[in-house]
Symmetry: C2
Subunit: 318 residues, 2 copies
């Protein structure tokens, strides 16, 4: 039986979260935790979606983007309406290495992998640019608003330098980086944290704008260091960036603790990643992965070995 497996990586924000909302650049990296999407034919002429212990079967005209499989449904909807009009039954099986709702871009990864697998399965052979564009549309239509960062990073892999004011995204040519992620397990709401920073900025505009500007400077410096191979600066820049995120009020006791214990375990630097208020930290860990992983696990948080990967979306079989 014909089957296609495609996978796409998650992402972390390396530098610049929150400041990017106010026009500063940010750096996002694809991480080697992947979502695998398998497409097979099914005889029922229905669409069947399977993930962990969940299964849902719908008709072709029932692809409303709701429920657990909303991103997959929207991807199918756009693919069948705009790329290839077919009505063959397909089964979509999803297998994710990414914790969901943790800020690691699992929704973008599942979307990109689905789009890529469908493209190969039905012989559409979409180019990566097209996969990224369509996947961004999926996120936009499901969420109402979405930056293209996650879908671009997941599609192309590597590290992306994002300049919101210029509406420009450039891919850095750099190799893999050893990174460990610590997941607090605490839920967070990006919208709420963005609002919190905005309220603080409304109260203390000069001070908060000054801090945001420095986060932007750190991001630009980090880009230069990545391009120039001066990786020894990365850890320090992460530490400085983390302090500034603390000053914006988006860290938590647990995030702060994970950052400190990662540094103590030998990380060159560590910071919260993403919106904060829960979610994850990242630690830059050359030659110290095992130590840092153990230290995070000891805190009853979930560690992941998640190096930055240059591999974006890819077909795993076929």
């Amino acid at each position: 039986m014909k089957e296609v497996i495609s996978s796409a990586p998650g992402k972390v924000i390396l530098f610049g979260e929150h400041a990017v909302v106010y026009g500063q650049p940010s750096l996002a990296g694809a991480i080697d935790l992947r979502v695998f999407v398998k497409v097979t034919e099914n005889k029922a002429k229905k669409i069947k979606m399977i993930s962990d212990n969940c299964m849902e079967t719908v008709d072709f005209n029932e692809l409303k983007p709701e429920g657990r499989f909303r991103y997959v449904k929207k991807a199918l909807d756009i693919f069948f309406n705009e790329i290839i009009q077919v009505c063959r039954g397909v089964t979509i099986s999803i297998n994710s290495e990414l914790p969901s709702a943790s800020g690691l871009g699992s929704s973008a990864a599942v979307t990109v992998a689905t789009m890529s697998a469908l493209s190969r399965f039905f012989g559409a052979e979409l180019k990566k640019e097209e996969i990224a564009r369509l996947s961004h549309r999926v996120e936009l239509e499901v969420q109402g608003a979405a930056s293209p960062t996650d879908t671009l990073t997941s599609t192309f892999g590597g590290i992306l330098f994002i300049e919101p004011l210029k509406k420009k995204y450039s891919r850095l040519s750099c190799s893999s980086l050893p990174l460990v992620i610590g997941y607090t397990g605490d839920p967070r709401s990006t919208a709420e944290l963005v609002r919190k920073v905005r309220e603080l900025r409304d109260k203390y505009p000069d001070i908060i704008d000054g801090i945001i500007l420095q986060i932007g400077e750190i991001t630009k410096k980090a880009k230069k260091c990545l391009e120039g191979g001066e990786l020894h600066h990365l850890g320090e820049l992460m530490n400085i960036n983390h302090g500034l995120l603390e000053s914006l009020g988006v860290s938590t006791e647990k995030l702060s603790r994970l950052v400190y214990i990662s540094r103590k375990a030998g990380a060159k630097g560590a910071k919260l990643t993403g919106a904060g208020g829960g979610g994850c930290i990242i630690a830059y860990t050359p030659e110290k992965e095992e130590n840092v992983i153990k230290a995070i696990a000891k805190e009853k948080c979930k560690p992941f070995r998640a190096p930055i990967t240059v591999d974006g979306v890819r077909i795993e079989n076929f």
Copy 2:
């Protein structure tokens, strides 16, 4: 038997530590943890100094500023050489509510209280300006270098706004503030931490200068809030300031933890105070002193109820 007891308060840096080294203003406050110095006559015509379980007896010509009583000896030396030439034996008994070497200004407080007690005991009736000036000289001669902040705050009480570039110190007219101190018990070296910040600034001058500038802005804003009675901003400004100190690399896991648990226990804001790397945190705690004190004690750190006090040095008896 004639006896004089004088007391002088310790101090905390409310805002602006480290940034003050680079010309930004800082705010220091006298705290109601005092050093008591009692002067009595002794018949032996010697100088006897007593504190806790320590005692030392020296001749008038043996007042070298060394050992545990080096500040007291230097104060006696300057007083007897420049204010009143007498050779009556005196016993100096010291009783301190301040943990020593914790960054809370215990050496300034013991110096100021000694100078004040000697002045009253021998009828010199030094003015406060004179006590502050002579006490600063004591610190300078014992330490080699010293800012006049500690001795000025301990002498006059209240809150001092320090502008190093203008070499200006002004006293804010504001009432007491509820403050809780958490002492980690960890030793720290101010010189080492100042050096650490300098090294970071040498590596990333633009970024670190930008952060230092924002600490200065916070301090100026805090001054305005204190003068205008807008005390509800103080906690938030402390929190922002703490994050910036984190970004300068002078916080520690324990300081960060104390800051978070104080906020959780109801403090309006909290930050490390002084050089960092150990030492103390301060928490602004209107109506929540007890909660915060309990939370700090639970961490096996030493809490102090230490409101900002308008009372500087004072004679306690006589």
